[in-house]
């Protein structure tokens, strides 16, 4: 058995293992391509918590301000964010995914375990049987070690690839969510009144809203630092 065969074996398993996630990513990428969604150069992904909080705040002020499209986009982003978090947690679960999940499904390891189990039917074992059993066990352990090293590398590579793709989808969707959120909020008189303290000379959007919040919020809090980061994104 050579390394390429091992890698193919692991690759085929992981493609299936992450199949549902890849399907979701593919659908999202196709959707973005079909409607020519742009992915803004700014890191919108990091401002999702701010956008979520703003959506909730506006909904509390005027529950009818948002369209069905905005609410769908809100749900969509939350779902994708959950998937991103779940995928991120995969990185801590390499062992769990390999042993027993991968080993239980690999034909090679099933065969080796069957061979070992067969010896149980021939008890008591003579010297030759004992030597053969020890050899198979040693082979099993050696193969497991080689497979695990390759599995770990491929697993981390695929999870990081998934995280990058999800981040790209979320960057784009968060950008459109941001635009639609302010477009709809600007039409609500109630929300408009709540924002009356803001500088009315400039357009009301995430950038001007964050700038206003930074003026009135207490500095050096975690929220203040986060808003500063968001302001850099929305510049």
């Amino acid at each position: 058995m050579n390394v390429d065969m091992i890698k193919n074996d692991i690759g085929a398993y992981l493609d299936k293992y992450f199949g549902a996630t890849y399907d979701i990513i593919d659908e999202n990428l196709e959707f973005m391509e079909e409607y020519e969604f742009i992915e803004p150069k700014e890191d919108y992904f990091s401002s999702i918590a701010f956008l979520n909080a703003t959506m909730n705040r506006f909904t509390n002020l005027d529950h009818a301000f948002s369209s069905e499209t905005l609410r769908k986009l809100f749900r969509d982003i939350k779902n994708l964010q959950t998937l991103h978090q779940e995928s991120f947690r995969y990185l801590e679960k390499t062992n769990e995914s390999f042993d027993p999940r991968f080993l239980n499904k690999s034909p090679l390891f099933i065969e080796m375990r069957d061979e070992i189990a067969e010896f149980d039917e021939y008890l008591p074992l003579d010297k030759e049987d004992k030597e053969t059993l020890a050899l198979i066990k040693e082979q099993y352990s050696y193969m497991r070690k080689i497979y695990y090293e390759n599995f770990k590398n491929e697993f981390v590579k695929q999870v990081n690839g998934i995280l990058d793709l999800l981040k790209s989808v979320l960057n784009s969707k968060a950008y459109y969510f941001d635009r639609l959120l302010w477009l709809e909020a600007s039409k609500s008189a109630t929300i408009g009144r709540s924002l009356k303290a803001m500088d009315k000379t400039s357009e009301i959007n995430s950038k001007t809203y964050i700038a206003h919040r930074l003026k009135v919020d207490l500095p050096y809090t975690d929220e203040y630092k986060y808003l500063q980061k968001c302001l850099r994104i929305h510049k």
Binding site: E27, P40, K41, K72, L183
Partner: protein
């Protein structure tokens, strides 16, 4: 596994409308960046901004990673590049012949005369961001003064290069 949100035709129409305004705004921001850097890009320096807007095509920001080819020797392409961040190395027949720092432009001659690229330009920093654009030759017919300035700039650029070569020869 998460449940996928399904968008209907009304949602799509809203996205398309948002997309139009997003793209228009993005283009206008990129154009502003080009206008800010106009006089640093020798080929388009001193062209009236209103005419520059008409003769510029396919204006965009592009990011390259270390060792990425921005221009390949022998290729025919229309883009002119201006480095916003990072720096590049220039190769001719696989031999390094120069460096291009941030704030400099390249690729003008081949883009204007539609000739093959005479050198390769490769990203030498971890990341390079360039402003890339091409000249719309069809619209040039309506902007005679822009055309004149463009060729004057090109002549100046060629003259500067000749003077540089001459001074190197004299030093040798």
């Amino acid at each position: 596994m998460i449940q996928q949100v399904v968008y209907d035709i009304d949602d799509i129409e809203k996205f398309i409308e948002l997309n139009k305004t997003s793209k228009a705004e993005e283009y206008s921001q990129t154009l502003q960046k080009l206008l800010n850097a106009q006089n640093k890009i020798s080929i388009i320096a001193n062209i009236e901004p209103s005419e520059l807007k008409v003769i510029i095509d396919d204006l965009k920001f592009v990011k390259y990673n270390f060792k990425d080819f921005i221009i390949k020797e022998g290729d025919v392409s229309k883009e002119i590049f201006f480095i916003l961040s990072g720096e590049c190395h220039v190769f001719h027949q696989n031999k390094k012949i120069g460096e291009i720092p941030m704030g400099k432009s390249f690729g003008e001659s081949a883009a204007i005369f539609s000739t093959k690229r005479n050198a390769s330009v490769v990203c030498s920093s971890k990341e390079v961001t360039v402003l890339s654009f091409s000249i719309n030759h069809d619209n040039m017919d309506f902007c005679s003064s822009a055309l004149a300035t463009l060729y004057k700039n090109l002549a100046l650029q060629i003259n500067n290069k000749l003077e540089e070569i001459n001074s190197k020869l004299v030093q040798k």
